[in-house]
């Protein structure tokens, strides 16, 4: 939300503010998998042809508490 308002064109949804590209509540291997998905999504975002600003959502689940 904030990123789009600030004018970013390729926004990737992360997890949460203190650790946006991971989830410390997960076991190490699952956390690595989650990080991988976010990075893959970011690479896709870089390759996409854009008409206007867009949010890219990685295929992840994380603990929201």
């Amino acid at each position: 939300m904030v990123a789009l308002q600030l004018g970013a064109t390729r926004v990737v949804t992360g997890t949460k503010i203190p650790n946006p590209c991971g989830d410390v509540n997960l076991p190490a291997e699952d956390d690595r998998q989650l990080r991988c998905e976010i990075v893959k999504c970011a690479l896709e975002a870089l390759q996409a042809n854009l008409e206007s600003a867009r949010t890219f959502v990685p295929k992840i689940n994380f603990t929201s508490g």
Binding site: M1, V2, I17, G65
Partner: protein, 434 residues
């Protein structure tokens, strides 16, 4: 529920043989107060001073400011959960000493050395541009300066500072127990003309789940990742809301301000005249994922709707982007459920006021009351007297920040100055649109 708040104005404070209040004169037995403070073995040194408006005095290491209040009749005590048992407050009679404050200046060896959970403090001048901008520049201040034992934990430091200042405040207000106040006001939110517009106040405040104390406490219990809570506005007047006294920086809040919240008094005084004040929704903010932000916003709006509110006033605390998102989403959720919603807040804006005032906004936030900028810089002349620090000693207001020489001229913004950030209205800034 009705609370009579009786005011005993203080026009002069002086040291004396005993602690007594008479017709505006508060005489204080310094030794008596010192022995109260020394009851806590964690406090290794303590001293008192008096700072008057207009004095060229600078107070350093300011952690908190509190107004002397005491419960005279009715259940509970002032500062329930801290000075006495947890009992619902806000009814009966409470005495306050008006026009004065207890300021606590404290030093200790911190164990958290960086980040948002680290301690901080502010500067208070009794004269010049700072005194004009803060409510504590025009109160007669009894200043308690303490040093804590090495080895205290952060939470022990908070508890020691808070208990010392609260005990002093209670002892000073105790002098009015048998007296009749020259002025008193009765506050309540009882039944009124049903045609009046129904208004709720949403008090959003930032709390840190990860810090030793979360920043804000309700009946002494630090508020962490809770969802909105419905309370009676009179509870503020009896000190049900308090703060982390390790955190004295100017962008945070002071107990004095929680007791004298501009917006709460105004709504109470308008109750039955221009509006029907339905009460207060306390809302903890600074959720770390969008999910939490959406849930708290929805929940606050739903609670307001269940109270059949037609209008809401929203405020916040602490200059934080994470917190601003929660608050903006709350404004949006309220507007979407049909409530006319006003957001009252200070702004960012840079030293010259030309930077964006908010890092995030929603289109529904179309009625915003500004209480000024927190980025304004003040040039503060050198003081004649220093309290809370030895001459020549330097001070660091935030962990890891530059070291300042408070005996010299200083240039600082609101975040470093006690009481200049106006979170809840009633402050001293005048706003001009241009």
């Amino acid at each position: 529920m009705k609370l009579e708040l009786a005011t005993f104005p203080v026009t002069k404070v002086q040291w004396g043989e005993r602690t007594v209040y008479r017709d505006g004169l508060l005489e204080i037995d310094k030794q008596e107060l010192l022995s109260l403070v020394r009851e806590d073995p964690k406090i290794v040194s303590a001293d008192f001073d008096i700072a008057l408006p207009g004095d060229e005095t600078r107070i350093v290491n300011v952690r908190d400011v509190v107004e002397p209040r005491i419960k005279i009749a009715g259940p509970g005590c002032v500062f329930p959960g801290i000075l006495g048992p947890v009992e619902s407050v806000g009814s009966g009679r409470t005495h306050r000493l008006g026009g004065m404050a207890v300021v606590v200046s404290a030093t200790y060896r911190p164990t958290i050395l960086s980040g948002t959970a680290a301690q901080n403090s502010s500067v208070l001048d009794m004269w010049g541009p700072l005194a004009e901008a803060t409510p504590f520049g025009s109160t007669i201040n009894v200043v308690l300066a303490i040093k804590l034992q090495d080895g205290v934990t952060e939470l022990e430091a908070h508890a020691a500072i808070q208990l010392a200042e609260f005990k002093i405040a209670r002892r000073l207000a105790e002098t009015t127990r048998e007296l009749t106040a020259p002025e008193a006001e009765v506050f309540g939110i009882g039944e009124v003309d049903p045609a009046l517009p129904r208004v709720v106040y949403i008090d959003s405040f930032l709390t840190n789940w990860h810090a030793p104390h979360s920043l804000v406490a309700y009946y002494g219990l630090p508020v962490r990742e809770s969802l909105p809570t419905y309370i009676h506005p009179n509870e503020y007047l009896d000190g049900a809301l308090t703060k982390d006294t390790r955190i004295g920086s100017g962008e945070y809040t002071y107990t004095w301000e929680w007791l004298n919240k501009g917006i709460v008094y105004r709504l109470l005084r308008e109750h039955g005249k221009r509006l029907n004040f339905l009460g207060v929704i306390l809302q903890r903010t600074r959720f770390e994922a969008e999910h939490g932000k959406q849930v708290t916003a929805m929940c606050a709006a739903q609670m307001a709707k269940l109270l059949r509110a037609e209008g809401a006033i929203v405020t916040r605390t602490v200059m934080s982007g994470a917190n601003l998102v929660d608050v903006m989403l709350t404004v949006q959720a309220c507007e979407k459920s049909g409530l006319k919603t006003v957001f009252l807040t200070p702004e960012w804006g840079g030293h010259d006021g030309t930077e964006p005032p908010f890092v995030f906004a929603v289109p529904e936030a179309d009625a915003i009351v500004s209480t000024g900028s927190t980025d304004r810089e003040y040039r503060l002349p050198a003081p004649k007297k220093l309290i809370g620090i030895k001459p020549g000693e330097r001070v660091q207001l935030y962990a890891g920040d530059r070291w300042l020489s408070p005996s010299e001229e200083l240039t600082l913004d609101d975040t470093c100055l006690a009481g200049t950030t106006d979170w809840w209205g009633g402050g001293k800034y005048t706003r001009v649109q241009y």
